[in-house]
Amino acid sequence: MKQIAIYGKGGIGKSSISSNLSVNLASEGFEVLLIGCDPKSDSTINLFGGRRIDTVLDLYKKDITDPDKLIFEGYNGVKGVEVGGPAAGVGCAGRGILVALKTLHKDYYLEKGFDIIIYDVPGDVVCGGFAGPAREGYADEIYIVTSGEYLSVYAANNIAKGLFNLKVKMGGIIGNMRGIPNEEEKIKSYSEEIGSQLINAVERNPKIYESEIEGKTVLEKYPDDPLNLKFKDIGNKIIKNKEAKVPNPTTDEKIRSIIGGLY
């Protein structure tokens, strides 16, 4: 079993990539568990036709902590969990993630025979709780989603700094492109700069948000679209990846020169 966590700048496409990845891996026969760690609970929504599943923390409030009741089966047999959390502007979402992760325990996953567990983590790592999935006992390796835009790479580098500090291994970078010139090369050369690798890069494609409007992944709405092959490729590379290592974050100047130099 492999456990991975997806980090990256807010809104960069972590949840879209996580859910599309999950259903495509499931279609190849893998047992997949997708754990949404965002208090807005939108990671798994496209596995359930737009329906919001009960969150771990909502159930926790009702004293329901049996893992069987926290996990829901979605499209293509992918299992989905939403951590949940407080309403915007109150409480402490970070604490929520830590408590929810404790409630869902690892031994249970092993027993259930998952091949891969994906933690989809919100935006930037703002406090200790958001780093929870990267701690020992949870994700084995981290993947960072970025476009070739400066602020996205900057955010990725900030996450790499966190991983460096926590001595957490990084499996690679997943590109999610915005359509700027030479974007894939930019992401690739940044990946190498920090001693990591580019797994693959997804192009900007309206099918992603068209599917999303119906609460679907691309695989469900457009089963034959070649975009699915991309997600399958990313998924397979992640499953086989043995190259994970602690990244060496770079400087701001270096990021500017990589991105600025490649026009």
Binding site: L57, P86, V90, G91, C92, R95, V99
Partner: protein, 358 residues
């Protein structure tokens, strides 16, 4: 310097200050165990202390509704005139909007918020924040706030220069055995020597510490020698409650025919009253100084001296200041709560025994 010795907490200081202000109920918005020892003592002193008992769930989702509910319950149960809501580490970390909860509870004319938690530095910070909130709420005026703030900052300075916040780690100690100290005092009186006693006590602890000058005076009446009595028992400054303490102790002295030679300041002025006391004694003739209460606030003098504290962790710092004997009144806080009279102290009892007084 990062000091390793655990020391008083700003949350607890806030609770004590609410009591000083004669607030009827303190609501601690935090874990059920936070400040519970202080809460027990303060309840004996007449102030109700309740907690919102925040749980793991409350940490995640916030607990403003619970706070509102507790405010309503408290209002019904105790019909208080004033309620102080005190923050804690957990409610403040998660950014609870306490002011809004008070408004939403409909009790904003009774309740005010003390924005404090455990990680805000010296305990005196908790007292200052409470006084500031009380001023904004209209319980005290600005002059009183400024005066007390100055005292509290001086008290913090005393602790970090002369007290347990002076070094990285301070071992607790009981100091010299009480009997040795009592015998020494009594023997001097038998030899017709002159003893100066400075009562430099912090607020309610005076009910206990005052027993030591009381015992020394009684011993002197029986055995000889003489006593100069100095105390921070002025009733000119401070909150009503604190002035009442001073009044009580003076009455007690009076009924034992003991006169106070010099008033060194008010009961919340212990950080400066010690200095006044020493200034007064500068050209007086005496053989031994006995300083009780907060001896660490006294300047060092070139005379044989004994210090009596209530903090086991103040013993070593006081010994460093050159006191011949330092001894501890261990039970000080639990015995003085709710009292209006001087209570028996351990050293006072030892002196009475040594002097053969019943």
């Amino acid at each position: 310097m990062n000091i390793l010795t655990p020391r008083p907490n700003p949350i607890v200081a806030a609770l004590y200050t609410l009591r000083d202000l004669d607030v009827d109920v303190a609501v601690l918005h935090g874990p059920s165990g936070c400040g519970f020892r202080a809460a027990r003592l303060l309840e004996e002193d007449g102030m109700k202390v309740v907690t919102t008992s925040m749980s793991e769930e409350d940490l995640i989702f916030g607990a403003s509704d619970k706070l509102i509910e507790v405010l309503h319950e408290v209002d019904e149960l105790f019909s208080p005139k004033t309620i102080g809501v005190v923050g804690s580490c957990v409610s403040m970390i998660i950014g609870e909007n306490v002011k809004k909860a008070i408004i939403d509870s409909g009790l904003k004319d009774k309740a005010f918020f003390v924005e404090i938690h455990g990680c805000m530095g010296a305990n005196t910070r908790g007292a200052i924040e409470t006084l500031k909130a009380a001023m904004e709420f209209g319980l005290i005026d600005e002059n009183e706030f400024k005066r007390q703030e100055k005292m509290l900052l001086l008290a913090t300075e005393v602790e970090s220069n002369n007290g347990m916040a002076k070094s990285k780690y301070t071992r607790p100690s009981r100091g010299t055995e009480l009997k040795i100290v009592a015998d020494h005092i009594v023997n001097l009186l038998k030899e017709n020597k002159k003893i100066a006693v400075i009562l430099n006590a912090k607020k309610e602890t005076a009910y206990l510490f005052a027993d030591i000058p009381l015992a020394i005076n009684l011993a002197s009446k029986k055995l000889g020698g003489s006593v100069i009595n100095v105390g921070n028992l002025s009733t000119d400054v401070g909150l009503l409650r604190i002035k009442r303490y001073a009044e009580d102790i003076k009455n007690n002295f009076q009924s034992n025919c003991i006169s106070i030679d010099y008033l060194s300041g008010g009961m919340d002025e212990y950080p400066i009253a010690g200095k006044n006391a020493i200034e007064y004694l500068k050209d007086k003739d005496f053989d031994l100084l006995v300083a009780v209460g907060i001896p660490q606030a006294l300047p060092i003098i070139n005379k044989e001296s004994i210090a009596v504290t209530n903090g086991p962790r103040e013993v070593h710092p006081l010994e460093d200041r050159g006191y011949k004997y330092v001894t501890v009144e261990i039970a000080s806080h639990s015995t003085v709560m709710g009292t209006r009279e001087i209570v028996l102290s351990e050293l006072g009892e030892a002196i009475r025994n040594a002097a053969g007084i019943q």
